[in-house]
Symmetry: C2
Subunit: 428 residues, 2 copies
Amino acid sequence: MSQPLRLGIAGLGTVGIGVVRIIRQHAAMLKARTGREIVISAVCARDPDKDRGVSLSSYAWETDATALATRDDVDVFVELIGGHEGIAKDAVEAALAAGKDVVTANKALLAIHGQALAEAAEAAGRALRYEAAVAGGIPVIKALTEGLAGNDITRVVGVMNGSCNYILTRMESAGLSYEEVFAEADGLGYLEADPQLDVGGIDAAHKLAILSSIAFGTRVDFDGIALEGIDRVSIEDIHAAADMDYKIKLLGVAQKTGRGLEQRMQPCLVPDTSPLGQLDGGTNMVLLEGDAVGQIVLRGPGAGEGPTASAVLADICDIARGLRGPVFGVPADTLTASVPASAQLPAPYYLRMSLEDKPGALARIAKVLGEAGVSIDRMRQYGHEDTSAPVLIVTHKTTPAALNEALGAMEGTGVLSGTPVALRIEDV
Amino acid sequence: MSQPLRLGIAGLGTVGIGVVRIIRQHAAMLKARTGREIVISAVCARDPDKDRGVSLSSYAWETDATALATRDDVDVFVELIGGHEGIAKDAVEAALAAGKDVVTANKALLAIHGQALAEAAEAAGRALRYEAAVAGGIPVIKALTEGLAGNDITRVVGVMNGSCNYILTRMESAGLSYEEVFAEADGLGYLEADPQLDVGGIDAAHKLAILSSIAFGTRVDFDGIALEGIDRVSIEDIHAAADMDYKIKLLGVAQKTGRGLEQRMQPCLVPDTSPLGQLDGGTNMVLLEGDAVGQIVLRGPGAGEGPTASAVLADICDIARGLRGPVFGVPADTLTASVPASAQLPAPYYLRMSLEDKPGALARIAKVLGEAGVSIDRMRQYGHEDTSAPVLIVTHKTTPAALNEALGAMEGTGVLSGTPVALRIEDV
């Protein structure tokens, strides 16, 4: 009979307690599935006396995560503290140095220090696994690393921050402004302590950087992501996009191009009938595209006790079964430096602007677009009661450079009222 | 350096050639991802002289699959012949007996002989893997066996036959009858040589039986599936369902109930706004539900050279990495006998009937429903030009027994024109 797999769990917040619950409740099931008993040796959290709704008295307590990570009776260090510096990083490094396997839900840690940690893990012959770090309960790391191992991955697209998707869908359904829904979500505790992590796209970009590394065999490159949050998405754009059969999503996209690796996190339009367009509320969705498989879509809860604990358990079970593949799908020392794309691939764009109510205003706009090489696919001018006319344009595929040239030239026409909004339309 | 992993591929149809192509085209990538070279030692197909569009001259040829399966220079036998008896079964058994790992895309073989084969594989300490057997390119076996290993699985729901989904969506979009679209699909070569495998739900039921075994730790039990194909789905029902905001799908459902394991493959209604309701054409979709994760939805191509070969490669890569878990997620000798549910769980039902144009006809129907304990959620009576009036009813949750009692009693009312249609509405 195999020896039990002994865990040390650092961080007893929602997810940590979720992991403890599953291990207690499903001990027999986990043993049947992995061939080994999975037990908790020790835990660690800031306040040992807090009532967490589950009895922890049978586990050794540590107040120091590094002390926990290096205990002799711990085989796997489960890091659920969070943050890319300080305690979490120190403890993960100490665990790997002490020959422990590591399971973490820490996207920031992986996105920023993934390369060094992967090298440390592989040098030590240990696993460093992080299914819970990306898209919560969706087994997307496994799908990409193992399920699509026979594919040259061509693109990864995802909605990977449930709070942003909640805000955008709530704006549409309730007809509220970004500021109103932001305040509402913040009041309900839906946002991180630093809300910029959510609405600024940082959290989602951490996840994208991780997926991108696996997909393209490149060193994780968070800084290479063109990053824009959802704070400039207005209810007017949501309504106008809907009018043209689109939804606005905070979309992470990573793809190989002839000009380097394109990684971006930005509000984009997607067709309202596409799986991404139909994704409402806090749910996550990731599209994985490969040369053999075509497109796979994975959808599920991106956060919460159960879903995140489910992902942590998947990693623990894999380790119990003896699975110890390279951290990012290929050996870390063979990952190539990511060369950020010099420009984004051409795409159609959505433009919304107000034109002064002057004869020939629209013709002027059409002319500068044409001169910049931007051709118009669809255009709508709306009835209006004041002196400016709302106009929506969907362009054919164009380069961001041509679009920017056109936007610059528009300013010189003297017919614009205010600044035009331009949003990329993603082909999904 | 690890030794190369040597394959013997039996069956060089679309999928077999797809596998050969990937291995040739992506040799370096596969080696980087698995740490081993993956090579083809030998192949086997009926006609060695046929032009398959890819050069096979560097591989040894066998005319007998069992001879291929037992060659000394084969580590993994890749069975892409198909069929649950005869050559495929003999060769898989021979491969396992000879200590080879086996990868197969053969859903019928697993659904019918899965238990014996799993026992043989595990006794020999070999892998028997079949990602390609269920839902084509979607890594659903991996998601269920590994990705959700920390979950008590509560339900599996899927659209797993692309041809049926194509027929149903094409009926709706073109307004054609089942017979017309069937003939069209058959003419286009979309259906199996024996179309009953598709439209009778057998192919999809094979897949459901496999998923059900993994999900619930039961011996694969194809015969325990309540099976009904799509041939009684009429264009009238598709239109009427759409009128009530539903789509009709050939849905496979497996769930544990207090009365045993419920496994069924039948046309069901699903809300048209649900991911399943929005699934058009030949795409597959599987919903996996677990106590921790909630619901995960996986969507992707269910057939075709690339997607199926992608799934075969995932298995090959796992074997190259040394992954050899139990065939159905837990050791085969611990799988319990499935106890088929004595009755299906209660559900809402859709009823469509024509009533004689007599006073009080609808009241009679409502009365017998009420007497059987079936309550009405929504009801619509349509205008009509002949002597019978079309009526649609959506019931509240009811047991199939109560529904059948009501349907029986309706016959006695004398107000029915023709036989009512009843379809289950699945909560997805």
